[in-house]
């Protein structure tokens, strides 16, 4: 196997992991948009109404970006969007952590205030940072194996 091929396959793996996580996260939230809005409000980062719109739109964006990455369609653009989402999540988690909020990140549904012993900021932060790096890789090298991009 050539070096190029190996890098293509690594790209495919990163694409599936990032896309898979986004798709699952979006699907778990899209069935309860009200709860998604509450989860965004719990960060106390955005004004009330704007937080609502973000909460409603976020699951849909996650599902679409996730699907594009899994299919390998417009990989670079999807990776840019996925990376921006992860960057926003990382900032949100750091904000909640630094502000001493006791909230569930709401990453996979749920969200809102929880008892202070149950917060999982380091884990959430680490996961989203790894996914952010995966997105960064795909932006720099969007060519991957088994991608629909090759058929366009």
């Amino acid at each position: 196997m050539t070096r190029e091929r190996r890098l293509d396959l690594l790209g495919t793996l990163l694409r599936l992991v990032l896309g898979g996580v986004l798709l699952v996260a979006g699907a778990l939230k899209v069935t309860n948009l009200g709860a998604s809005a509450l989860a965004v409000r719990a960060y106390q980062l955005l004004p009330y109404d704007l937080a609502g719109y973000v909460g409603y739109a976020l699951p849909v964006v996650e599902i679409i970006v996730g699907l594009l990455l899994i299919l390998g369609l417009f990989t670079r653009a999807a990776a840019v969007l996925g990376g921006l989402l992860m960057l926003a999540f990382v900032i949100g988690i750091c904000w909640a952590w630094a502000k001493g909020l006791s909230i569930d990140c709401g990453c996979f549904g749920g969200g809102g205030e929880i008892s202070s012993g149950r917060t999982a900021y380091p884990l959430d932060f680490a996961r989203d940072l790894v996914l952010l790096l995966a997105a960064g890789w795909l932006v720099r090298r969007p060519a991957t194996a088994y991608a629909l991009d090759a058929r366009l």
Partner: protein, 253 residues
């Protein structure tokens, strides 16, 4: 020597470019459509909740829309449990959702202390009943329980009713309260005119007030329960009932 002709190469890439444009355009339109649909659905759902209760039986919707229970500061305002408290004692704000398990624990630990403060007028107790767990748990038990408490408030039994709610909270979060349970709370809380309470509850007379209170509370920055503020400052709950009494003592002039 002539420059190499690029037309062959262009001809090879042109269809691909067109494909990308078409597919990309479709994906973009689909994405925007889905986002607008989600925002529309979300807003629609939340405004459906905050509209007046459906005319389910007696009571005119017009009067129900801004009906405010006795003891509430205003429409969509919190409940003042002991309005006759003297001016020199601090205000204790408590934010609770009837379906929040930690709130039931809170009541177990801090309930007697808070009750004592009310009875001796050692603090002015203001209760902000929240109902966001209805959204999370996909039921309507928080709104119905809050409405039951507000119907009891008309007869001076808000706090007693709420104590019943938390003392009898179902073990599993999300089970909710049955209508029979909510009626039993009214009886145990000592609501004198049961018929009036039942009518008030059947029409969910204070649903609009309850939802307005939730929105106002969220906008004020409180998004979780239980939250306790003494003289405007959120206090840390360590599981020790003295958390509140210490803060009250420090804030009493």
């Amino acid at each position: 020597m002539p420059r190499p002709d690029a037309t062959d190469k262009l001809a090879a890439t042109a269809p691909a470019q067109t494909n990308r444009l078409i597919v990309g355009g479709l994906v973009a339109i689909l994405t925007l459509g889905a986002i607008f649909a989600a925002i529309f659905l979300g807003i629609n759902n939340s405004s459906k909740n905050s509209s007046t209760p459906a005319a389910s039986g007696a009571g005119s919707v017009a009067t129900a829309s801004t009906a405010t229970p006795k003891g509430a500061t205003e429409f969509g305002g919190p409940m003042v449990v002991n309005p006759d408290a003297p001016a020199n004692v601090p205000v204790v704000d408590i934010f609770e959702d009837p379906q929040c398990p930690i709130c039931a624990q809170f009541e177990q630990i801090y309930g007697p202390i808070v009750k004592g403060l009310v009875q001796t007028n050692g603090a002015k107790l203001v209760v902000h009943t929240m109902t966001f767990l209805d959204t999370n748990l996909k039921n309507d038990s928080s709104v119905r329980a809050a409405n039951g408490a507000f119907c009891a408030a008309d007869q001076g039994k808000f706090y007693e009713y709420m104590s019943q709610v938390y003392a009898n909270q179902p073990a599993k979060e999300g089970t909710g309260y049955t209508d029979d349970q909510l009626a039993a709370f009214a009886l145990k809380a000592g609501v004198a005119d049961q018929q009036a309470w039942a009518t008030c509850q059947a029409t969910l007379k204070y649903k609009a007030h309850t939802l307005a209170l939730e929105t106002n509370t969220e906008k004020s920055g409180v998004t979780g329960t239980p939250t306790v503020k003494v003289a405007g400052q959120t206090i840390k709950l360590t599981g020790n009932a003295t958390d509140i009494t210490d803060a009250v003592k420090a804030a009493t002039k």
